[in-house]
Symmetry: C2
Subunit: 341 residues, 2 copies
């Protein structure tokens, strides 16, 4: 602990290189021959050199830090996106400062201020408490994922395509009535596309359909109660008809599935069911459930690429800001399991 | 962007306070009256002051950064622990650099070296690729969770107590034979206590029992195949007897539950089932499943307290290192649902 810090001068003296050469080793190693890189690397080991990156940051302003703001880690979708983003460390070397916002807008704002004070290079934002207009005003590279994104670069699943896929599959299953359950979301939120895709297919083919747009609650118990009431109403209203239900996510699809299987001992033939996300619960459920899968690995990789693009631009001598935010769309993948034929 | 940075002198001049007072506002605000704190806060807004924390770190060596090393975010247990640790930001103000190691030992070691170069203040380690002896050699405050911990401070669930609770519940359910499925883990790993607790109860009460210690595989499909074979063997070997099965976690308990319900149309009376963790799947399964719940909120809070204790000690003028690593034990909570009576 009490050991004197090794400086560039010490390394220069030890190796016989100039201080400029040592500096180049750290900031632009490719400008040295492999042989000279090895000589310096050996010297660092011999001298037990410990790099002080904080001093480097102060010198060149590059922290290699990226902030990630995420609503929660309870929903499997978020933890999987986070997992994939963190795994890009091996590719890009960026280290991630992660914040879980739990809908606390002021805490999130305070956290962002702190990140800016630490001179982070960019942010990936999945939480939806702060508007894209405010995020853009912070004037650092940002990519948002599956949230309102008018003023920020973003990567989203093609939710409209997902709605089309789900409704088409249910239609091809010979359903008499198609039902889509979802929250009453704003058209500004990407997930709204699911409702629109579902509706467009139904209208195009003249399929009888019903939209049930209601907040299902934020806990499993709350959602279970709501879905039980929806199930009872549908069973009474469409008795004898084959009901094709498109649920907003796999967790809620599983609630409906369990209600059906507990009531009938098996998955009844007058129902078809499609979820969204391809969460583990969709394959681990009592009846493996059809779902619209999000390509989370692609989504995370594209988000990071879009962020790196912006961060690299900032490092140029004359950075050219983007004229318009870039919005990337990732196609979903329909996964057919046992709740459709 | 081209705006001149505001310095302490500027703030002092604007408010009429001394530079020392301004410095105290940032480093020890409670030493000022609320009124004076407000005056300075107003001045910061008026001057559009942006704190440069990197400069502060270089001055006082306090980064307020903590590293978290986690094996993966696929298992709900890990994402919940991470969620709880990240939520302590509001309490302690520490920012977390998160790394998912995915069993890549060398990448993890490289990441730790980077964190040390950034002068992080401490680490919380859940991954198990690097020995506690090596972790301790890095000479920064560390707390490990649910992994080998001979040389590091740690917080673990009382796994032995969990094994006792599960076996006792199955015994009280009138089971003729008790079965515990688990990996063949080393006695150095905390989870080994589950096997021991289960065995001790069985031996104490002379209950017939069987340990099935085998690696169930690292994917759901792989585990499903293994558990199907275990289920078929048990059904044949103990026909007509009531089988009390203690599974190593809720995901694997759910696989067995689904096999049973798909075969018999309901949860059969000659089975009882207990999982471990109280993951969402245990309550969202087709039959809500009894489980030994880990108190993840307590676990995360105690881990952070133990880390803060060590980090604060380092900030003293003459820090006194711990003579022995501290190991904290959190009791589990038995949760009875419909797979036991």
């Amino acid at each position: 602990m009490a050991k004197k810090n090794i400086t560039f001068s010490d390394i220069a003296q030890y190796t016989g290189f100039s201080k400029t050469t040592i500096s180049r080793y750290f900031n632009n190693p490719d400008s040295l021959t492999l042989e000279n890189q090895q000589k310096i690397a050996d010297a660092l080991t011999a001298l037990d050199y410990k790099e002080n990156k904080v001093a480097r940051i102060l010198a060149n302003g590059k922290t290699e830090f990226v902030g990630i703001l995420i609503p929660n880690l309870y929903l499997h979708y978020y933890s999987q996106v986070l997992n994939q983003i963190l795994s890009t460390y091996e590719t890009y070397g960026y280290k991630f400062l992660v914040f879980v916002c739990n809908d606390k807008e002021e805490t999130e704002r305070q956290y962002i201020r702190e990140l800016l004070a630490y001179q982070i290079e960019g942010m990936i934002v999945l939480s939806h408490t702060i508007s894209s207009e405010e995020l853009a005003s912070y004037d650092i590279p940002i990519v948002t994922i599956e949230r309102e994104d008018r003023y920020t670069c973003s990567v989203n699943t093609d939710n409209y395509m997902g709605g089309l896929q789900a409704a088409s599959l249910l239609y091809k299953n010979g359903c008499d009535i198609l039902i889509h359950v979802n929250a009453d979301i704003s058209p500004e939120v990407p997930a709204y596309g699911r409702i629109q895709g579902f509706q467009d297919i139904c209208q195009e083919h003249g399929i009888p359909h019903e939209l049930i747009l209601t907040h299902l609650g934020s806990s499993y118990a709350e959602a279970s109660g709501h879905i039980l009431r929806i199930f009872e109403a549908l069973a009474a209203k469409y008795e004898g008809k084959r009901k094709g239900v498109f649920m907003p996510n796999d967790t809620h699809a599983n609630v409906l599935l369990n209600l059906l299987v507990r009531k009938y001992g098996t998955f009844p033939d007058d129902y078809r069911l499609v979820g969204f996300d391809n969460s583990p619960i969709s394959s681990e459920a009592i009846i493996p459930t059809s779902t619209v899968g999000q390509q989370i690995d692609t989504l995370a990789r594209e988000a990071m690429e879009l962020l790196v693009l912006q961060m690299n631009e900032r490092k140029k001598r004359r950075p050219v800001p983007l004229e318009q935010p870039i919005h990337k769309i990732i196609p979903p993948v329909l996964i057919r399991r046992e709740t459709t034929r």
